[in-house]
Symmetry: C2
Subunit: 232 residues, 2 copies
């Protein structure tokens, strides 16, 4: 049984609304503007960069990330041959491990940074994730559009995208382990019965994070649900 | 002997003005808003994210990058143990290798993404680069503020910053090898006799890159020099 706030957010999420999630005063103290990746458009990328202003990231649920062969950026850095590996962030100032995986572009983009290019990269990733998610649910082998006969999700992912790119992939660590925007957003998708790929962008004010009060006002203005970490 | 356009840009650069550099129709076809890292402020980060809209990156000249122990992101990915290494971008759609090194935060930031945090990370990097640059010029060993006695630039860099962070470091490949915004911006710093750390951000319009015409109008409005790859 969901509480009313979560239930309302689930209904809105399914109707392609964005939502605003504030993590909590004891963590980043930050609100992110969030939308399910399947609804992303170039207009949405523009809105995220203008109205939120942070980094446009794509959070992916751990099961799907695993099928794609994604690992954490810190694991890549730590396994490399360079002295830079000692710079690996083990804990942020708010006491969590970072969620970053690799930054990617879809191979069909041009520079990768325009609204159109970033939307394309995310859209293609959401399509692939949808297939990964459905396979898991049904146990069937997908051989449809864009998927070579017998090609795995991982093979298709690695063939269709490259790194470095301009969409920053994040991997959820599960809400029981970490209560960051990554996990909160993915938990909302999970409760909505949707595959876990959520676009996130930090909401900024001049100099600092947008206050909780102003983030809430923004959400109300557009009819977006406003959630806090403690609602989950 | 510099041409007049470059000479004017050098004078403005030294007075803490930004400049707009358009690479060329045969390359990205993109204008970047650029400022020397030593002049960065939180207000400047805000201006870059609002008026430009792309990724806020810090281009570093190869000699300084080497002193810091920086390498290209693609080299890190390629030397890792993961299947993801096959996703390494060898050439972009506009036919160049990417300039990305690693993304970093200074250890004193909180989330790393706010205007204040990004300005702090860049400012601290510019200060370190300034010392690296002066050592090179004078051959003396720097033991001043923030630099432990006998500590190398590389040791100080790796002790003071962590990765992943929210400022994307780029390494120049030299203007004779690549004529991207990274190299053009660093070449301008070099000709101005300034150390090579330049903050760059792609100028975007709804859906696509800002047109050359509009980028030029923006530069004129604020009194910023407008340069093209062919001016160098």
């Amino acid at each position: 049984m969901q509480n009313d706030k979560i239930q309302n957010a689930i209904e809105k999420l399914k109707k392609a609304y964005a939502c605003v999630i504030y993590d909590g005063n004891d963590r980043e103290g930050e609100a992110d503007l969030i939308i399910h990746a399947k609804y992303i458009t170039p207009e949405w990328i523009e809105r995220l960069r203008k109205n939120a202003g942070g980094l446009i990231c794509l959070a992916i649920e751990p099961e799907i990330a695993k099928k794609m062969g994604l690992v954490f950026y810190t694991d890549i850095l730590a396994s490399s041959n360079f002295e830079l590996k000692q710079m690996e962030c083990k804990k942020t100032a708010y006491n969590d491990k970072p969620s970053f995986s690799i930054p990617v572009n879809h191979k069909e983009v041009y520079t990768g940074i325009t609204d159109t290019d970033r939307a394309l990269t995310i859209k293609k990733l959401a399509e692939l994730a949808e297939r990964a998610y459905k396979n898991e649910q049904t146990g069937t082998i997908q051989t449809g559009k864009g998927n070579l006969k017998g090609e795995s999700i991982k093979q298709e992912f690695m063939r269709s995208f490259y790194s470095p790119g301009h969409v920053f992939l994040l991997i959820g660590r599960g809400i029981e382990n970490r209560k960051g925007h990554t996990e909160l957003a993915l938990e909302l998708a999970r409760r909505a019965g949707m595959q876990g790929t959520m676009v996130l962008c930090e909401m900024l004010a001049p100099g600092r994070a947008l206050s909780k009060k102003k983030a809430k006002m923004y959400a109300e203005k557009y009819g977006y649900p406003f959630l806090e970490g403690s609602d989950f």
